[in-house]
Structures are given as C-alpha cells and as structure tokens.
Symmetry: C2
C-alpha cells in the first residue's frame, strides 16, 4: 500500500526489549536459481507487439544500438539478477550501456515509464541503467527486484561490436520454506491453480518481514500482515515470522502508544508517521489469531497490554451515542474508495476487533477486562444498529450511503441477527455500485462476510469470479489493485501501470479460503 | 583518440614472454582524497545559469524531485566518487532516484546529453542513475570517472522526505608519483601555470598504462604514448610505465607483426584491429627515446627486432620512386583532417622514424642494419624532395595541397637543408588555412618543427598562444581537441561537447617544451 501521511517532528516510542526479540527472530532466507524459459523482442521500443525467440537462440542474439531483448523467467521472481555478457565483432572499444527494465507483467514490460506522472515516487519503477566497461563480464545487479520479464535495451555499444547476453539467472529470495508447505489435495484444477498463485504471492512477499509487495512498498503494513499470517498458517506455517512482525509493531509505535500503520525495517526498525484506525485494530486481531495457532504465552505477555491499548484508544474516538466523527473517520482505510463515508464501517471494525480482544483477555485470565469488553461490545453493537441500520431498507447507511463496504463490516461485526445478516448478504449485489470495491484486500472481507452469513456457495463463486478474472488476465501472482472492468487502472494516477504492484500480500488469501473453508464441509476456524 | 577500424576474424599475434614482463611492470596506483571546494545549482535543468552556494551550505541543502546540486571539486579528478546521503522530513518511504553527471568542464555540466548524436558511443557520456534504497547511506560509485564537476539531480524522492548530500569525496587514482616530480624553477607565471596544467593532464592519464584520456577512450594508443613518455621523462620519470607500454605493444600485434595503433588491457592485453601507419612507426621513436633515458639493454634486446620490422613493413608501402599510394595513405593519421592528402606526410614520418631506427641499430651494434638504414634514409629523403617539394613555391605539395601538416613533417624529416627549413617555417602561416590543425597532437609537432628549424621564439609564441587559449577558456587539464575559433566544436559530431575528452594525453607536452627547451639556452635532447 502506498499512502502519504506526514507528521512534523515525529519521534516514535521504541521498546528495546521488544525490538531485540524481533531482531533475534530475523528469518533465514531461502534461495533458488532460475533461468529464463523464453525470450522475445519488442518490435518497437514501447510496442506490445513482439517477435518470439526460441529459447536456444536467446543467448546467441547480437544486439546493436537501440535493440532490445526480453527474457521471460516463466513465473514471478523476487531476487537478484545476474547477467553474463559477451560480444561479437571486434574487441569492444567503448563500454556497453544498457537499460534494464524489470517487469512483473507483460503489460509492464511494454510500457514507456517516461509517461508516468502519478503521486507515488517514480523511484519504484524497476529500471536500472548499467555501464559494462569490460567484456566478457558477469554483472550482478545489487538491488532486489520483483519480476517475471526482463527487458534489456542496448542504449549503445559501438560500431565495432555487438552485445550478446550469454546467460541470465535470478537468485530468488524468500523466507518461505517450500519444504514446510502443507500438502492440500485440491480436486478442482482451477482452484488448485488459484491456490498455487496465492501461495506464490505469499512466498514472494515473505522476506525479512511480511512485505506488502516485493516491488513496492517492500514494507510491513499491519493490514497486509493480518491477511498474510492467515494464509501462512495453512501453508508455510512460519509462526516466527508472524511473531517477529507483531514484535516490530509493538516495539516501535506512536509516542502515545498507537500501533503505526506500517513499520520501516532499515536502517533500523522505526514506525512510520502514518496511523490508520482500522490497521492499528488489526494488531489485536492478528495477535489473537497467532495465539490460536501457537499458544505462545510469552508473546501474549509481551504484547497483551499493547493490544488492549489499541482498543481503548479507538474507543475514545466513539462518542456517547456510539458514533464516530467525520474527522476521525478520515483515518479509516477499509479500501481505496475516495469520498466514501466510513463512519459506520469504522465503528464496525472496532466491534470486530473487540471480539478478538475479548478472546485475548480470556486467554490471559484477565476476567475483569473480558467482562468490560463484553459490555462495551454489546453496547456498541446496539448503537451501531440504532445509528446506522435502516430497518426499512434493511441495510446499513452511513452518511446517506449504503455502500457494500459498510454492509460487509457490519456483518463481520455481528451487528445483525444471523438471519438478517444472511438476508443482507444475499442481496449484496444491490450495494455494489455504491463505491465499488477497489482492492483484493476489500474483496477478502467481502468473502469473509459472505461466509460469516453462511453463504458459502456465493462466497466461493465470488472468489472464483474475482481472483479468477486476474488469472484469466495472466496473473502469475495476485495483484495489488484489480478491477476487471478497467484492467489498465491504477490507484496511483497517470501511467500508473508501471508503478502498480503485481504481487501483493493482501491479495494472497484464496489459499486461506480454499484450504480452511472450501476443501471441507465445515469451516475449521473463526478468522472472519 | 577514437577511431573506427574493423577487421573480420582478427586474431592478434601474442608473445607470452613480452606480455608477462608487461604484467610484472603493472604500476602501483597512488590515491588521494579530495572534497568539493564549492557548489552551485543550475537554475534550469540544462541552463548554464547557476546560483552559487557557499561551501558550508552545500551539505545542508534539502533536494526534492527534479532539483539539482552541482559540486565543484576545484580541479580535474580521476577516481572514485563516494557520497553520503541523509534526509529531512519523514522516514523515507520510497528509494531516492538520482542522476549523477560527471563533467570535466563547466560547459559539460550544463549540457543536455540527450541531444548527443555523434558517431562515438554515447556509453562514454559520464552519467549514472542510482537508486538509494535505505537512508542514510554511503554510496560508492564503482566506476572510475574523470571530472571536476558533479551534478546530482534528484529524479524523485517522495513527498515525505527530501535528500541531503552530507558529504562527497573523490578517491583519486594515478600511477604518477608526485613525490618524484622533478622540480622546475619557471620564472614566468603563465608558463608555470601551463606547466602545472600539463603535468596534471599527464598524471591523470597515467593509470595502469599511459591512457589517451581518463574519460575516453581510457586506452593505450601509440601516438599518445610517445608524447606522454616525453613529458614523463622531465616530470615523473616513471620509466617502468613506459617500458610496460612498449612491451604491451610488442607483446600483442597484428598477425603479420605490425604494431597496432592501440592495445586493450582488459580483460587481457589484446591488440585492437586498428592499424595506423604513423602510429606503428612511433613505436620505433618511443623505444629509442626510452633507451636514451635508461640504457636498458634488456628492453632493447627484447624489442629491437619488432622496431626494425615496423620500418621494413612501412618501406614495403613505398614504391621505387619513393612514393606512397593514395590507398596506403588512408592509414596515415597525422591529424583529424578530413580530405587532406597525406602521401607526402606519410613518407616524411617514415624518414623521421628511420632516423630513430638507425640510432637503435647503432646502439645494438647492428652495423650492417645501421648502414642499410642510412642508405635507405638518404634515398628516401632525396625522393621526398624530388616528388613533393615545389622548388618554385618553396614548399611541399601533396596531391595539389600545400598543407601546413605536410610542411611540418617534412621539416621534422630533415628533407630540406637547414636554411630552407627555417625559411619554410618562418612562412608557416601561409599554409595554415590549408587543412588547419585540429588537435594538440598536431600542434605539438608544429612546435617541434619550429624548434627543429631553429625558430625558438616563434615556437614559444605558438605554444603560449595555442595552449594559452585553452587556459583562458578555463582548462584545468589540456583538451583532446581545441580550435579557439570554434570553442564548441567536436570531432565527434552533433552535441559532441559531452563526448569530448578534456584531459587528453596528446595535449600534455607543454611541460616537455618548457622544461627541455624554453627554460634553457640550448635544448637538451633531440626528441623533435
């Protein structure tokens, strides 16, 4: 996720003990070497028309000034590129000057990044210019890149020689250990493929932390972490990596104790000066889910107070009638929906998080806190119904808007009786045009709400439909943002195709739904 | 020098013994650290209008997207840049993306290199794009650059932070040892400064070999070597570096034994498939001059036959009347003069080289060879006079052209009686419009001819005038090509200012003339 918040003179509150533990939990990274499986040449520099090159010829093509060679590594890679160059003709009398473009998708490889004029830094565009002074040469690109395609353009050689790419390889990097990957016997081939793509999405985001996207922002965001952890529990089961990330969020926070929306890892752990109301509440949810998996009492003891603090600080934003102000709702994310009223959704997320907080309190034998939370929870649910539920239209309305997103969160918050929730979600299409969902992050919660309302078939259908449309559009890993009706769209403005992330953590949850819900008659957890 | 020659399936003849000795003579490199002495900002990206920044503020400027900071290192540097970056504002949430432009001159720093469209590879343009992923950071640029100015443009940061260049330094590199620099008591401050600039030019070209230019081509060319060696003998006196270069030329040659115009050093020594008639003859001249300095009999024994072979092979291109064909004259360089007839000049260079060859033969006690050379020399001189000297106009005419360049080489070859030569050189201005001299390389030989004709004052005047005009135009080191009447010119075509080399070996000889000729009443050597 890219989101801009700036606080002057922001100094996060750091807890050395928690950060030390996080540091000790730094994962081992696993590596593999992959070579291209094919190649092609773009007919014009930025055309999408290409001429295919059979694999055994790829490493024999002699490239002169302005020519390009595109390598296809066959799947989404995260890692370090090494290229071996040689030449044909006379001894090189000038350096080779190359432009390397790393692209996660075919679309991206064909795009002219010069036209990008969006609000996210163009420094994320995966392009490098390289001078090769001596040939033959082995060039290892020191930066990590996320890509399937590599476009090599010779900006110049000299008339005396042409360049040959003799060998290319990517040393992949991930903290996901495929040897630990839980087996799953998925009969439906389409779902099997969707599961594989989800897992690859997750694995390629699993680095020293759960990154949001290995191309961009390469950073630990709370909302993404919660979904990655869910997918991780039924696949790679790297519990220590979840624990490490929770300690990082606990270890560096806003000066008043709030959990930041994201944490920088380098040069040292530091909370970003960005706070999102719902993201900080996801800390509570993620901690409780981690406890369900591990029963790790040390972690509970270390992070319990921080989790409770998030609930208490959010409750302070709720007035006596159980309402949230418009100003405070500006810090609610939910989805990339400009102009959407997020007051009811914000209250619902808090109710949802309090359910998890109450479980944590019970697990901690903190009975008075559990009692207090139950009371608050019941009160806030009642307020939510009273304030935002239109008993005639039988839907939630916030600021005059009956958006699907508001319905989803109120269903997840159990504000309605089960039959009402089921009825509401059966009619979910009615609300889809009011601020359509923009991201797989929100689509995840939509599916969760359908499941919570007992609409298993509808949930499966939507998952097949939405993530399936990405597969049909050629996804090797699932994308940050995707609207099948507007495939060239970007949340980041003009020319944003080159800045979009095409392997994004918050899109990896089909594997969770498939493995925890759709492969079994009854669901096996309560992570909705 | 940049010059294009291509021979299909060229396989140089290598001599392992000679190349081993060259390898053993690899020089120690000396290093110094230099920091900027000032800074400025270009008002527009490619304007020459700049706003000066006082030195103590340079490292506090916060740079946002599209802004530039130029550092002035105060003199011409050859070496490795290190930059320390920090930031102001929030924690960086995106990499910093920078363009670094290294420029030898102020003109070059202001130029837009995109407009370059010349025939020399644009890979020589000293620009690098750098992503800085983590801040603060120390970035060491792994390539060696030649520069006085460094322009840092922030292509992008992000709205959350601005970039600060906290520190910059250049680790210079040269095989010239300033502790060995011969003292010279030069009274005239202008000549003293010219001497210093010459020496810096030489030192910055002295690397693992005598390079032609540390920016471009960074390569060992024979014509440049001869002049560098001359300047070196009266300054740094690094005899081993000259020896090494002679062994390199001897160690890897054309299959028929010809000395190549230049030799590549990396990845291993290899003759270029470029042969220049006069450059191969300069091997003989440079070897004899090296022997004058060192009396190094081993080197004479190792390279004597190769030197003689160059003379013999060139003589084969001369017909019975002592003429050279137009086709063969195409391999004569002399100067960058398109369309000039080089037949007479070519013959004259051979006569000149035979004078040195004869001295080598005597030194080797090879009396029959010395005798043979004397006979050939006398014959060829007589032919040159007969074929090319117009007794009425009292000048040399080649293909109908009476160019200055042709006069110069015939004077250096002693084709005329001393009084005739003196008279001819006194009238040298008459010939200047016929293919004007383009390079300091040719201006060197013009001065040498004036001195050989006994016109010491005129020689001094021209040196002061020509190299002095570079000094007035701001030279920190002397330039590859310079025509005071056309200061923006380039031998390399459109936009060539960014590709010109502004520290070029063949321009370094004023120190030789000053120290060996103009500081003394009588000259002390015979290197004309």
């Amino acid at each position: 996720m890219a989101l801009i918040s700036i606080i002057e003179d922001f100094h996060p509150m750091n807890n050395a003990k928690l950060l030390d533990i996080a540091e000790q939990l730094t994962p081992t990274l696993h590596h593999e070497i992959h070579e291209p499986v094919g190649g092609f040449t773009l007919k014009e520099r930025y055309s999408s028309e290409a001429e295919e090159i059979v694999l055994h010829k790829v490493h024999h093509i002699a490239m002169g000034k302005g020519e390009n060679l595109c390598l296809d590594f066959g799947n989404h890679m995260v890692g370090y590129l090494t290229l071996d160059f040689s030449y044909t003709g006379s001894h090189p009398d000038a350096p080779a000057y190359l432009k390397l473009k790393f692209a996660e998708t075919y679309e991206e490889v064909c795009e002219n990044s010069d036209v990008y004029n969006g609000w996210v830094s163009r420094s994320w565009i995966q392009e490098e210019y390289v001078h090769v002074d001596v040939l033959p040469a082995r060039i290892r690109i020191p930066r990590r890149h996320a890509f399937r395609y590599l476009k090599i353009t010779t900006m110049d050689t000299s008339v005396k020689y042409k360049l040959v790419v003799r060998h290319a390889e990517c040393l992949t990097e991930t903290s996901a250990d495929y040897r630990r990957l839980a087996a799953a016997d998925i009969a439906d081939p389409f779902l099997k493929r969707m599961d594989e793509i989800s897992i690859r999405t997750l694995a390629n985001c699993m680095q020293e932390v759960f990154e949001d996207g290995p191309k961009r922002d390469r950073r630990l965001w709370m909302g993404d972490l919660r979904l990655e952890a869910l997918a991780n529990y039924c696949t790679f089961r790297n519990y220590n990596l979840v624990r490490r990330c929770l300690y990082l969020f606990g270890g560096t926070r806003f000066p008043d104790g709030r959990v930041s929306a994201n944490v920088f890892i380098k040069p040292k752990a530091e909370a970003d000066d960005t706070w999102l109301y719902d993201y900080s509440l996801m800390f509570v949810v993620a901690l409780e889910e981690y406890m369900q998996q591990t029963d790790d009492v040390d972690t509970l003891n270390d992070l319990y107070d921080i989790a409770m603090q998030q609930i208490e600080m959010s409750l302070r934003l709720i007035d006596r009638e159980g309402r949230m102000s418009e100003e405070d709702a500006a810090n609610v994310f939910l989805d990339w929906s400009e102009g959407m009223d997020k007051r009811s959704g914000g209250v619902a997320v808090l109710i949802y998080a309090m359910r998890y907080a109450r479980r944590l309190a019970r697990r901690k034998n903190d009975w008075s806190q559990a009692q207090w939370l139950m009371e608050k929870l019941d009160w806030l649910k009642a307020c939510a119904r009273k304030n935002y539920y239109d008993e005639e239209r039988k839907c939630f309305v916030s600021g005059g808007q009956a958006s699907l997103i508001t319905q989803v969160w109120n269903v997840l918050a159990d504000v309605l009786y089960p039959e009402e929730a089921k009825d509401l979600m059966e009619r979910s299409e009615e609300f889809m045009d009011c601020f359509p969902m923009k991201t797989p992050y929100m689509h995840h919660y939509y599916i969760a709400a359908l499941l919570r309302a007992g609409l298993r078939e509808k949930a499966l259908l939507h998952m097949r439909d939405y993530w399936g449309s990405m597969m049909e559009a050629g996804a090797d890993t699932f994308w940050e943002a995707w609207d099948p009706a507007n495939p060239k769209g970007s949340p980041y403005g003009e020319g944003g195709v080159v800045i979009n992330s095409y392997c994004h953590a918050w899109s990896c949850t089909p594997t969770y739904f498939i493995r925890s819900w759709f492969m079994r008659e009854k669901h096996t957890d309560d992570h909705l």
